[in-house]
Amino acid sequence: MPSALAFERVTKRYRNGVVALDDASWSIPIGARTCLLGPNGAGKSTAIRLLEGALRASRGNVTLLGAGPDTPAYADARRRTGVVPQNPGMYADLSAIEYLELVRQLYGRGDVGRVIEAFGLGPHRRTMLAALSGGFRRRLLLAAALLSEPEILLLDEPTVGLDPVAAHEVHELLSAAMKGRTTLLCTHNLAEAEALCDDVVILRGGTVLLHESLVALRGRVAPRLRLRARQGVEPLIAALRRRGLAVEVEADAAIVNVDGLRAGPELLRDLLGQGLDVYESVPLEPSLEQLFLDVVQA
């Protein structure tokens, strides 16, 4: 499958000597919804900046829809890409509709009225950008990124700094916008990544630690079971520890890692055989946060 965007042995060293990306290689196929995760300083925003053409790689190749930033085809690739920047400054002397009109003219296509309607910006069309609330600023940025119906969407921390209500609204808009579009979502919010993306690229110190689908990533982590017994948690813990299992306690439940989900029934039979009335046995999906911490801390 052709790549929507690709990094080929890319190094980005800033003028102050900081190496943001170090020989990083990864690519995203057309149609993928990928989140870019990593601790602060991992190189996530630098990757977005390289793709949007604001920065040049010190070494290696960055391509967008197959075009490098110095090739004639890049301008066209860029016009097929919508970008939501991370918390930008807002003009105090340009209204929402004027900004969207500017965006439409620069992309050469789009229906301003449609995105104003779709993103609920109608009451704020004449409001200066700096006077918009945080939630409406993000709506406007998303509207601007989607105005030209781009094939690729680059989202740099689209909900950072928003209150939970505004973040939820933006998530819903993002979820609809990302359908059928190649998306690279750069975020710190693991729940957001989990809800919106299928694949994950984890960066640390400018290098790619992992690039996998969330399903495959979950398969790497030992399955966990949450168990509850009528006799209470203490006898349950004692029985599990006798089997040599590490146990976490969560209120009146015991959580154990099992060696594959097929080991679950055997464990249950053993516990029941010991006279413990186990009335709940729930397999737990590892959260992205857990997966992320496992990978980054490894």
Partner: protein, 246 residues
């Protein structure tokens, strides 16, 4: 002739400049003083009180020889005022259009759009140039008309003053590109403006005093355009999105 994206961005810049009361007031007030309020009383005074500059040993610098009465105004003082104003207006506008965009991080909005840095900067420089001409030429025309009506200078002599005026506006606009590289905030921009313009004004004063006859205005214009061209070459060599975004 002008790239379409530059035209679009130029429209944005001019709209924003037109709405920036601070930019318009500061870009108009000082030129109003230097091109109209201060020169007209000087003109009337010098016209009515013939002033002979004392003979200097060896005849003095060529630019000061044979200047009598209102000639001092037309040949020396007013060209200097015109040059100063031509330099000031674009520099003030640049602080608003270039430095403020950087300081307030609104540049991030433009970076997200499919447009190259060179187009953004060309649009900004054009808007600065247009504002510079729009402010200084009408103010210049007021005093110039009075000079011609009073018969202090011919229309051709006064029209020649448009050479240093235009060249100063162009020079200052070009120097704005260096301002883009050097200043990250409004206060630094004002300091950098001073550092950049003081030598240029010294050169201008030197040419006005050192070159005699009507050639002085042409030489001054050529010098200003040369300085502006050098600024553009240096700026274009070093400016990148990375530097502008820092």
């Amino acid at each position: 002739m002008i790239d379409r994206s530059v035209q679009i961005l130029l429209g944005k810049e001019l709209r924003q400049l037109g709405r920036s009361r601070g930019a318009l007031v500061s870009a108009t007030l000082l030129p109003l003083l230097l091109l109209v309020v201060v020169p007209i009383p000087q003109l009337l005074t010098l016209r009515n009180l013939p002033l002979d500059i004392p003979e200097l040993p060896g005849g003095g610098p060529p630019g000061l020889q044979s200047l009598r009465g209102a000639d001092v105004f037309v040949q020396l003082l007013y060209p200097l005022f015109v040059t100063i104003c031509g330099m000031i207006v674009p520099s003030l506008a640049a602080s608003y259009t270039i430095v403020t965009e950087r300081e307030r991080r609104t540049l991030e909005l433009l970076v997200a759009l499919p447009v190259r840095l060179s187009r953004i900067l060309v649009a900004k420089l054009l808007s600065i140039l247009i504002l510079g001409i729009a402010v200084t030429v009408p103010l210049f025309a007021v005093t110039a008309t009075l000079v011609v009506i009073l018969g202090t200078a011919s229309l051709a002599e006064i029209a020649l003053l448009l050479v240093p005026l235009g060249a100063a506006v162009v020079c200052s606009t070009c120097l704005s590109l260096l301002l883009t590289l050097l200043a990250r905030d409004f206060r630094t921009a004002n300091n950098v403006n001073g550092v950049l313009f003081f030598p240029v004004l010294l050169v201008a004063a030197g040419i006005l005093v050192g070159v005699g006859g009507s050639a002085r205005l042409l030489v001054l214009g050529a010098a200003l355009l040369t300085i502006g061209g050098a600024a553009i070459l240096v700026g274009a060599r070093w400016i990148t999105f990375e530097r502008y975004l820092e």
